[in-house]
């Protein structure tokens, strides 16, 4: 490999002598030199390029910038060919579109974001309608059921999620019991920890924690699976084979989640209560028998059904959002990532929103 020589520009009477390496590696220094010399060149000046050792496209572009109307002498034929090729390649105006970062830009982006949310909401409602219509159409026809796909997704979204759901709820149950015990003990009401645990896990925490976990675990998986199929035109292939992508891809996932989610929720409630009960038994002298008796007095069954009634709604929302975001994926790998993130965020947001509305509703009807 040749050793690099630093480029130079020198005035020699009428003409300008240039030499050295005019390459990309030297471009920063060269560009500064070129802009310094540019205006000062006499109209009829000649550029002597005999001393140029190496020339690449970047150097050629800079040499052309320097020369403007002036003549360039002394290049060997290969360098001349390069210069001609670069000269022929038309450059666009360098005034690239700059992003407006001012107040106007902020307003525009805010507007676009709001519009995006509105469009997403409409799309989600439309998609939910489409899914329901497809479901109603395909349910009466047993030939269109897909038991294999359903079983597969049941395992993936249900069975495989059991350990994490149980463990997480157990830990949160223990933490809530500790918190409750610490505060309630000051009032001499440590025994009410049982109510705290029972009430919160049966009505809210069991189902909400499960929904958040499933949104992160299965909702994202739905988006990524369908999204990469969309990116590789597999979804289009399904359509051209005379099949309905909603029926083939969405329904098995939706039905699997509708079955798995209530089961997981029940396990989650149980795990949370066991976690709380264990803390009660070990550190607060609330024996398991007492714990269970008090739970019965609380009317646990009623609270259990309040919590359970939300599970299918969350399941439906998570599956619908996950699948819809998957269908929104376009072409690139980055798009799969963006929509997966969006799917998880939307699903968790919707779960908490619906949970809040449900809490108000159940309070109003006094359940």
């Amino acid at each position: 490999m040749q050793t690099a020589t630093t480029p130079f520009l020198r005035q020699h009477g009428e003409h300008l002598a240039v030499g050295g390496d005019w390459t990309l590696a030297m471009a920063t220094a060269l560009a500064a030199d070129v802009s310094r010399w540019r205006g000062r060149l006499a109209p009829q000046a000649r550029i002597d390029a005999t001393a140029i050792a190496r020339l690449d496209t970047a150097g050629a572009r800079l040499l052309l910038d320097l020369a403007e109307a002036a003549r360039i002498d002394g290049l060997d034929p290969r360098q001349h060919a390069l210069l001609d090729a670069v000269a022929r390649a038309a450059l666009p105006d360098t005034a690239t579109t700059r992003r407006d970062n001012g107040l106007l830009g902020l307003l525009a982006r805010t507007g676009a974001a709001v519009e995006g949310i509105a469009r997403d909401a409409v799309a989600l409602l439309g998609f939910i309608g489409l899914v329901l219509a497809t479901l109603v159409r395909s349910l009466p026809d047993p030939r269109r059921w897909r038991p294999t796909a359903l079983a597969f997704h049941l395992e993936q979204t249900g069975l495989d999620a059991v350990p994490i759901v149980v463990l997480l709820n157990f830990l949160v149950g223990a933490v809530v019991a500790f918190l409750g015990a610490t505060i309630l003990r000051d009032f001499g009401a440590a025994i009410y920890t049982v109510e705290l645990i029972g009430y919160s896990f049966l009505r809210e925490f069991g189902v909400l924690l499960t929904a958040i976990l499933i949104a992160g675990r299965s909702g994202s998986a739905f988006t990524a699976q369908i999204g990469s199929m969309k990116a590789r035109e597999e979804v289009d292939a399904i359509r051209t084979l005379g099949l309905d992508p909603i029926e083939v891809l969405v329904l098995p996932r939706l039905l699997a989640l509708l079955v798995a989610m209530p089961l997981l929720t029940a396990l989650a409630m149980l795990a949370g209560i066991v976690g709380g009960g264990m803390v009660g038994a070990l550190s607060m002298d609330i024996s398991p028998t007492l714990f269970i008796t008090r739970l019965h007095e609380l009317g646990a069954a009623r609270h259990f059904w309040v919590g359970m009634s939300k599970a299918p709604i969350f399941a439906f929302l998570i599956a619908a959002i996950g699948c819809l975001e998957g269908f929104k994926v376009s072409g690139s790998a980055e798009s799969v990532g963006t929509h997966t993130t969006s799917s998880v965020v939307q699903a968790i947001f919707m779960a908490i929103l619906v949970d809040a509305l449900a809490a108000v509703f159940f309070m109003e009807i006094d359940v």
């Binding site: 990309l24 471009a27 970047a58 090729a85 450059l91």
Partner: protein, 270 residues
Amino acid sequence: MTATEAIIEVRGLRNQFGSQVVHEQLDLDVRRGEIIGVVGGSGSGKSVLMRSIIGLNRPAAGSVRLLATEMMRASETERMQVERRCGVLFQNGALFSSLSVADNVMAPMREHFRLPLPLMQRFAALKIALAGLPPNAGAKFPSQLSGGMVKRAALARAIALDPDLLFLDEPTAGLDPIGAAAFDELILTLRDSLGLTVFLITHDLDTLYTICDRVAVLAHRRVLACGPLAEVERCDDPWVRDYFQGPRGRSALLAAQHARARHAHPAGGT
């Protein structure tokens, strides 16, 4: 520096995946400034050969000498230096989908040189223009480009650092005949003006006949024949004969002869 200096020298290459041997005792020389076409049936290991040469695939045995550097024994820095002088156009473009075309072209410049952004944008625009794309293509993202434009954008990125050596993996596959012919012309122009050496994998017989100086035929795990087309055509291996003497080969030859005749007598020319 002589005209016949070998810029790539492959000796005794052996590639193996599990029990499947792809290359065995494969030798190949590529000379500076030539366009060498590599042909072979599907699965004959053309892409594997390219990956072995550029170091993406470590061969089981043999040596690869690239730009006077023994790639198997070179240190990390030496390899990097050689890799910087190679441009690669992958079969499907392999453009970074999260970057615009201009950013794709600027990516190698950004990594290897510290250049002011406006200067880099100018050079990127130059490369995009050299690759035959319209000026507004720079702001587009790969997913917004047609197949032919993706190839051109990938070519612009491959020549971003003014490589000495350009590897092209089926550059005209999937292009319409007019687009493919224009791409061939572009490669020829770039070779002549930028002084490139081009290693070209192709199935396109028209490309072989119009722009390749030499052709290497890959079959039976080695280079079966290597030389100018006229020489390779005369090879008496049945596969090579079928390849070049088949109906497609003959029509490509005719087309190339036509093209050459037009080239030699352009309107108002010599």
